[in-house]
């Protein structure tokens, strides 16, 4: 396999764009990323587009109708919440395999005020949600957190501290959907959604778009692009005891992390910043351990000690994370790449992680998919 470099990135502020559509938002993100790379659509040889809720609607091609129809191969990707990061990986693979020198990945989503996700009844017309347990995401990740509580005695307060941290981080990110600090009492006192996750421990829904241009080593040299994709890994859920009943978000992340570190020739101790999938506050602590940022059972202590806060040993979600930055499903994974690349280039302004050389972006899609991308400057 050849190498892939990220030559350009873009992200639109996450939020609500009720007067625009996904082709418009995605198209703008593509043009911004191409401008950032110093390239045009004429240079692009491959495109991967991620948009989960319009997965059957040829969003990639429709974007090209707005920004340039050059006849290149386009794939439309759907992989639950890992849709955008899977699109990025497709673009990377197109370059690393030698098929393209320049590939474009875009992730876009319009969720409007879509509320709770998950919990579908399977099309039988019979309601199972709230009868045969819950498939709602807040409850599924609530239960995943409860498993950690059961094993290690993690407290609701420790989970809540994740929300405090990420909301605080977001105040330094102008592209974040929310930029409001929430003290611990406010997080714990917020309306309960699914125990132990209160409203402020759940990510918001919204709209957004992000894009990234991946180029070959040769092209990177021409452009002066220095951010290299050290590993781009995708896993699905392997068989584990309760996975079919209670989605196991841990094992596939551990598998992805092991593979990603191996491919990158790096370990968790080499990572300067992490953007991980904090769809709910409970999820973030699990992934500290899954990604090897701490030993098993130490995630609660890690958040208590501030090790993952900006300025700590390994800052996690300095963008504000999904909890504050937002989680427009298809856009999320590419936006994570945007964040990591922006730090590796030293352009993150007031939220810059000093001397960031290596960053890790992690995304989970339930059902399940996990991507891990490790990038270095």
């Amino acid at each position: 396999m050849g190498q892939g470099f990220v030559a350009g990135v873009s992200m639109l502020k996450f939020g609500r764009y009720k007067d625009r559509d996904v082709t418009d938002l995605g198209g703008e993100a593509c043009l911004m990323a191409l401008d950032d790379a110093g390239l045009t659509m004429r240079d692009v040889q491959y495109m991967a587009a991620g948009c989960l809720m319009q997965a059957n609607a040829m969003v990639g091609q429709r974007i090209l109708h707005e920004i340039g129809q050059t006849g290149i191969p386009v794939v439309n990707v759907a992989n639950a919440c890992a849709t955008g990061s899977t699109a990025f990986r497709e673009a990377y693979l197109a370059v690393a395999s030698g098929e393209a020198d320049v590939a474009l990945a875009v992730g876009v989503e319009q969720m409007g005020k879509a509320g709770l996700l998950g919990g579908g009844g399977g099309g039988s017309g019979i309601r199972t949600e709230g009868v045969v347990g819950s498939g709602l995401m807040p409850a599924v990740f609530g239960q995943a957190g409860m498993e950690h509580m059961r094993k290690y005695g993690t407290s609701q307060e420790q989970f809540a501290k994740v929300a405090v941290k990420n909301h605080k981080h977001a105040t330094r990110n102008p592209l974040s959907q929310y930029q409001v600090e929430t003290p611990l009492e406010q997080v714990l006192g917020a309306r309960m959604v699914a125990y132990p996750n209160t409203l402020l421990m759940c990510c918001p829904s919204g709209d957004g778009a992000a894009a990234a241009v991946v180029v070959s080593e040769k092209k990177a040299r021409e452009l002066g692009a220095t951010v290299r994709v050290r590993a781009s890994v995708l896993t699905s859920d392997p068989w584990s005891d309760r996975d079919l009943t209670q989605p196991d978000v841990n094992t596939l992340t551990r598998n992805a992390a092991k593979l990603a570190y191996e491919r990158a020739g790096l370990g968790p101790e080499d990572i300067d910043l992490v953007e991980l999938h904090d769809c709910f506050a409970t999820a973030e602590l699990l992934h500290y351990e899954n990604l090897g940022l701490c030993k098993d059972g130490e995630a609660g202590r890690m958040i208590d000690e501030g090790a993952t806060t900006h300025g700590g040993r390994v800052p996690v979600n300095v963008s504000g994370g999904l909890l504050s930055k937002g989680h427009p499903l298809g856009a999320t994974g590419v936006a994570n790449i945007y964040e990591v690349v922006t730090h590796l280039r030293g352009r993150a302004k007031e939220r810059q992680v000093p001397d960031a050389k290596v960053g890790l972006a992690h995304v989970i899609g339930l059902g399940s998919a996990c991507t891990i991308n490790i990038l270095s400057s």
Partner: protein
Amino acid sequence: MSETTATAAAPKGRRPIVPFLRLPDGGEPYLAGQRCGGCGAVYLGQRLACAKCLGRGPFSEVPLSSTGELYVWSIVHQSFPGVPVPYVVGIVDLPEGVSVRCNLVDVEPDPKALRFGMKVEMTTGVSQQDNEGNDVVAFYFRPARN
């Protein structure tokens, strides 16, 4: 799919909420698992091949115990429109080595009332009517009474 088979076994006018809930005539309702003959893994519902050992079976049906242990739980306070809240949900581990997602009943929707590993037992009740007016029978778990 297999729902047709399950419904056929139930008295007219009643149907189980999921295919793996069995409602035998004149007998106690029970959950049915499919056990892989190769490795012993037990599933709720049919598999084409074993997700664990990849063997093509044969799978045999095993009646599952009506008692188990509560593995994890949550209390849902916000749900789809029309779904009464709060409700207690959980994952119950059954002795046959399979887990079930369920609602917990006869327990307060309060973290203090719930305990990891607590013994629970299955019960059933009519949860709703389907489009043809049949009673839909659901299973629930509640704190064990013995």
